[in-house]
Symmetry: C2
Subunit: 181 residues, 2 copies
Amino acid sequence: RPLREVLLFPSPPSCTEALLAEAAEPGAAARPCHCPLPHGDCPLSRLLRLLLAARRSLDICLFAFSCPQLGHAVRILHRRGVRVRVVTDAQYMGLCGSQIGILRQDGIQVRHDQESGYMHHKFAVVDGRMLLTGSLNWTTQAIQTNRENVLVTEDAEYVKPFLDEFEKIWEEYNPVNYTFF
Amino acid sequence: RPLREVLLFPSPPSCTEALLAEAAEPGAAARPCHCPLPHGDCPLSRLLRLLLAARRSLDICLFAFSCPQLGHAVRILHRRGVRVRVVTDAQYMGLCGSQIGILRQDGIQVRHDQESGYMHHKFAVVDGRMLLTGSLNWTTQAIQTNRENVLVTEDAEYVKPFLDEFEKIWEEYNPVNYTFF
């Protein structure tokens, strides 16, 4: 039965360190966290778990990406050998707090537009079969303070057009096509 | 079989006057339009047709709403007796070009947040059974120049959480709850 789920934000502030530590070093002894934040499940932890389930590939198409926890998760997947590709918007990626530079430093492939319009999508495809799409940019402000939604689906009728869109944009934004004025 | 569809933007500039005129006066003699724009189908015309199919209700939850054609379609539905409810973001609704004031002048119910975070959803539910959700704000810039998506679904597992979210926000944003400083 394919996964069908809707995540709604804002997500209450919560500590996701244990979740990320476990993903970074599976099987390592759990280090209990004593920070004052709640440690239970929340929409952000659910989003992290869905992404961290990637085994082969993660394709991300995101207008704004500045949330450190989501950046950490993506870097863990890259280190684990998952093929990560990121498409983002040129106007936003250089802003203070953007995760894009950190991802690139880690060797993750990132491509961006050269258009006057925004690359305004906010979706990710895990292993070519699970789509996460909605209004949510991956920023702490959006996660903690905005009304947002993420629809999670494994229905091929929804996943395929997004995968096709990703491949199309990925080729269009190939740096060999950049023009410099 | 429930509808499952993905609309991708940008949509090429195109004339939607005939479509809107037909919706405003069903059965009236078609007046051919001689403007220089293309008159064929496009993602915007598809979006308009899906909304104009409403018979009983249209619930809209939208960060930014300034596209005149979509504003026109919503006003046609209101005049036709469809119960239209609009939730929007307080920071955006007063900007130049916003359709919100025009909708209110026509007697359409609009509610907005009083929060520091954004009401950043971009979804609509037609007749309580068809959901349109994605990255697309209803602005001409987004429609004509941005990379955007709208997922269209009649699957109850997706529609219900959005309907519930709409009803929850609609009550929370009831003007009786507004505070004035």
